[in-house]
Amino acid sequence: MRTGTIIAETSDLTIGYKTSGRTNPLLEHLTLTARRGELVALIGRNGTGKSTLLRTMVALQQPLSGIVRISGNDIFTSDRSLLPKVVSFASTEPFAVHNIKVREVVALGRFPYTNWIGTLTSADELSVNEALQATGLLPLSDRNIDAISDGEKQRVLIARSLAQDTELLIMDEPTAYLDLPSRYSIVSLLKKLTREKGKCVIYSTHDLDTAINEADKIWLMSEKGVAEGAPEDLMLSRTIARAFESPLLSFSQTSGSFSFIRKSRGSVTLDATGSLRKLTERALHRCGYKTGQDSAIRIIAVETDGRMEWTLLFENRTECYNSIYELVGHLPVED
């Protein structure tokens, strides 16, 4: 993949609030870029200012200092009326109405282009249809917004942003409240838009897993600022680990996943193969046991004719179990 031109860029940006004359900076000196054809995931813990950054980037909020450039223009000094044609924004704000059709919501994305009363020209209708097509919503276009799932509602917001025909799409937590398959389907849709339509998409999320697996670039927000780079860059530099690790959580640098830190209860020698071994090991780890050689506790797991059996050898006892659940319920505690 060749590097595209820069679509969004902040330089020395300080975001925050002004309350009764006093400035209250959240984050200072942010210098970030996002390019054409890139999917950028903004991650960070609650309250670090993800929404504030996104709102500042679409000029819904004034920065305390610094510059935001979108498609080359400083959004706070150039003609404000042109902004809706270069960047679209979908927030977590709930709809005010229920009684509205999918197509009507998507058509509102044409707002910056329509006349004073919002009449759709044939070119507008074409954009709306293309947006519905690209998001797979054509079969649902005459449904009420109330009669579709939460995942489909997010698609409608993406379609609305697409209909707005901007180079940059900014979305605040598009995968919040969604189940796992819906989260993946939304993020893969966003990625498809970057690949097939050359869009630049910046989205904030708490779904670290999907972000690490799908995003081209991560903007990682912490109290100290925002670090940017490919997911793997941030894994290598342990930036992700530092931002999210806690006394209860450790980050695996190579797999890019988090695991709980547990109190050790002893070690077990496991004789098993394949997925039987992997899953038994997983259960042992979950219960705080390490696996190793020549431990006092020994477990033999075998599969014969589709039946699985776990044999637990400890001191002089030999016990057999038919499920992992039963096995871990009888594990001895090693002093």
Partner: protein
């Protein structure tokens, strides 16, 4: 395509509603507490009726029917603007304190000023002073609300301020009532019951101007109103100047509701209920349809209320406010209880 199909049916509904409007307007002229021949009424409209008929039709029934249309349309459109702006199905001109502001103006005039200036009830000066007082009261509340709206980030705080203001005003009015004599009290209470039949042609002209200007303003706001269905953040992100839109919507709604209340007294219930009925009738949330739709539905409902309030052929008349509530509330209950309640329609 279904899109064009529903547009066609919206056109059809408009046609039917307009025919109904003409029918009810005619009925309102034909029926009244005094019985008149149909022929006499029609001839009177063109100046060829009997003297008795001409007086009743031209001096009473025609101005009353025209006022019903104007007041109904004004309150309904005003309510629609408020519900979309506040994104609240219970919003209406009343919750902004506009009606109570007008009430305060009238109460102050009736209960304190007119005894002091010894303006006799029934005089021309008396009628105008009530109207000006109501306008001033509604206007004062409007200014307060807009000042709040210009400063507060959250539109819901404006709604709360409106409700608080309305309560505060009604306490002041109660206080004034407590210290006034019986005649004044009765005049005030009767004003609060609403009256469509008190307007001179001069006053109807002013009301027409206020409602037309308000409707024109509302029409200009149709596009941002539709964006507001997606919320304020979305609206701003597509280029709506939210501050200006808020002020314009509040001003438009207040001018219409304030004028109607000044001339006809507080017309209960229309502002809140008619927008819901309109959404139900057209099954749409598009303000290009809802705006004219609410105007027509409001006019229709107030015409029906007016016909019923004269209790045709009985020689009696009851306050129009009692009728709007009595026929309106069952309608709303029916809508809420129906398969698709108001919440789903909003």
């Amino acid at each position: 395509m279904r899109g064009s199909g529903s547009r066609l049916s919206a056109g059809l509904i408009f046609l039917l509603l307009l025919m109904l409007l003409v029918l009810l307007f005619t009925l309102d002229l034909l029926l009244g507490s005094t019985q008149l021949e149909v022929r006499d009424v029609l001839l009177s409209l063109f100046g060829n009726g009997t003297e008795h008929g001409e007086i009743i039709v031209m001096q009473f029934r025609l101005p009353k029917a025209v006022t019903a249309i104007l007041a109904g349309a004004g309150m309904a459109v005003s309510g629609l603007l408020m519900q979309t702006l506040f994104r609240n199905p219970l919003a209406g001109p009343d919750v902004l304190g506009v009606s109570s502001g007008a009430g305060l103006g009238v109460a102050l005039t009736l209960l304190t000023l007119s005894p002091l200036l010894s303006i006799s009830p029934g005089s021309v000066l008396y009628g105008w002073s009530m109207i000006l007082a109501a306008w001033a009261g509604a206007g004062a509340v409007m200014v307060v609300i807009m000042t709040v709206a210009a400063r507060m980030r959250d539109i819901m705080s404006v709604l709360i301020v409106g409700l608080l203001l309305a309560s505060a005003i009604s306490s002041i009015v109660s206080l004034l009532q407590y210290f006034s004599n019986e005649t004044m009290l009765k005049t005030y209470v009767i004003w609060t019951m609403g009256n469509l039949g008190n307007l001179s042609y001069m006053q109807i002209r002013i009301l027409t101007l206020a409602v037309t200007a308000g409707s024109a303003m509302a029409l200009i706001m149709v596009k941002p109103l539709n964006a507001l269905l997606m919320g304020e953040t979305f609206s701003m992100s597509v280029g709506v100047n939210m501050q200006r839109t808020r002020i314009l919507l509040l001003a438009t709604a207040s001018i219409m509701a304030g004028s109607v209340t000044a001339f006809c007294g507080p017309i209960a219930f229309l502002g809140v209920a008619v927008p819901h009925i309109t959404r139900l009738v057209f099954s749409s949330n598009d303000h290009r349809i809802l705006m004219p739709g609410a105007a027509i539905c409001g006019a229709l409902i107030l015409l029906v209320s007016d016909i019923l309030s004269t209790l045709p052929g009985n020689g009696l008349m009851v306050p129009v406010n009692t009728v709007t509530s009595l026929i309106g509330i069952p309608v709303v209950l029916w809508i809420i209880a129906g398969k698709k309640g108001i919440g789903r329609r909003f």
